[in-house]
Amino acid sequence: MVYYLFFDNRALGGSDGLYINFKPTVALGSLVLLDLDNNRSLYYLTLGMLLLVYLFLRRLLWSPFGRALAGIRVNEHRMRAIGFGTFGHKLCAFTLAGALAGLAGYLWGAQSGYINPELMGFHMSAHAIMMVILGGMGNFAGAIVGAFTFEYILHVLKDLPTVGGVNLGKHWQLWMGSFIVLVVLFARRGVLGLLQRLTAGKSTGTDQHG
């Protein structure tokens, strides 16, 4: 729905999208503190944001608000019976998620210098969900690991060679889809779960020897 709102909106560039023509910088007078046209600054800013958001969410998870959300996920009915206004908690959670997505959108815009309605379409949402599934659901680190894994695999698949007249790289979505299906079937807790299982297997192995 939001997609169509922006698709037909002249002010925001309609279906052609919008170029961001000014440099995203932080300057104090003539002293430039942060210049996001510089790839290195953008990289460190993004890394910093990732760390900050990760730490913030970790704190939030164990805060009274985070505990209440966990309770709502398990048993909303009982949460109301013991006195929690669950609507407000859920509204807060969605607002927070929206704000963090906005931050991600800002960084995306600063990186590419170009935005269009496609970014709000199904593909982008699907990518985000695939990242989470790949990394391991119900876990912040899983989402981060998933994002890196997804982007890495994307690059590998897009660079696949042409074999016998068929350009394998052009059909990367097919390989990506198959890969996700395999992950869901054989590693339900994602790449992170797989890594944990491998390291756990190793440590119990040495325990037996010792």
């Binding site: 704190r59 019976a81 013991i82």
Partner: protein, 254 residues
């Protein structure tokens, strides 16, 4: 009476043409256990749902500590001082016993969304909530089981946990829906002892099937059949009431 904590007046709930609860009135006092009995489908649980706000009444009103709470949400009624336990165990199965009760205890901390500490400080930092949680576990005899995952505890322990969560919200009125359901003899005796202890500080409404327990505990009995109150009075009166024997107690003997 001055100490009426809960007053229901002509409460009615209709589902289509069926009156599941029809013009039921009752009063609860501190230090008294009021039991509601009746055959299956008599409307006992619907009555409990009307009092706790899980269902809005079609007509009638409910006063809790003098405040009209008719049509309030369950969370608002809980905050006003009514604690409810459920017939079908309604707990947080994947959490530990402690976390179950702590969530309930935490709900009574002042809500300060503008205070950043509420978002960044661990929930367990609240001393008041910890104290409420410990007191509730102590009372219900679950103190030694605090680290057990709720799903792995026995049925009796889950029923105790149900009560502990309710107590952690420090209610004045307790609404207990079949706390003895599915319990063995020893567990039931423990629960009866617990209810007698709780009676001192609470007004208790007990919805119960177990007749031995009801007659051992209740100071006042209300008998419901088909959504209607057919008798109300002291246990001895109810026992000898001809209507009740015909409609309910006699039925059990068959």
């Amino acid at each position: 009476m001055a100490d009426t904590l809960l007053h229901a007046e002509r409460l009615t709930k209709r589902f289509g043409g069926l009156a599941a609860v029809n013009e039921v009135s009752l009063q609860l006092w501190r230090d008294r256990i009021h039991a509601v009995i009746g055959p299956n489908g008599a409307g006992k649980s619907t009555l409990a749902n009307l009092l706790s706000g899980d269902l809005p009444p079609t007509s009638g009103r409910v006063l809790l500590g003098g405040q009209d709470i008719t049509g309030w949400s369950p969370e608002a009624i809980s905050r006003q001082g009514l604690g409810r336990s459920y017939q079908k165990t309604n707990i947080f199965l994947p959490f530990t016993v402690w976390d179950n009760v702590f969530l309930a205890a935490q709900s009574r901390d002042p809500q300060q969304p503008w205070n950043p500490l509420r978002w960044l400080r661990p929930a367990s930092a609240s001393r008041a909530a910890r104290a409420r949680c410990e007191a509730a576990l102590e009372l219900t005899g679950l103190a030694t089981r605090r680290d057990a995952i709720a799903a792995t505890t026995s049925h009796g322990e889950q029923r105790q946990l149900e009560i502990a969560m309710t107590l952690a919200t420090e209610p004045q009125v307790l609404l207990l829906d079949e706390p003895l359901a599915g319990m063995g003899q020893a567990e039931a005796e423990q629960m009866v002892a617990l209810l007698l202890r709780l009676k001192k500080d609470h007004a208790i409404l007990l919805v119960e099937h177990d007749m031995d327990a009801v007659f051992a505990l209740a100071d006042h009995l209300t008998v419901m059949v088909n959504g209607q109150v057919i008798a109300s009075g002291a246990p001895a009166e109810i026992r000898s009431d001809a209507n009740v024997q015909a409609a309910y107690l006699g039925e059990e003997a068959h």
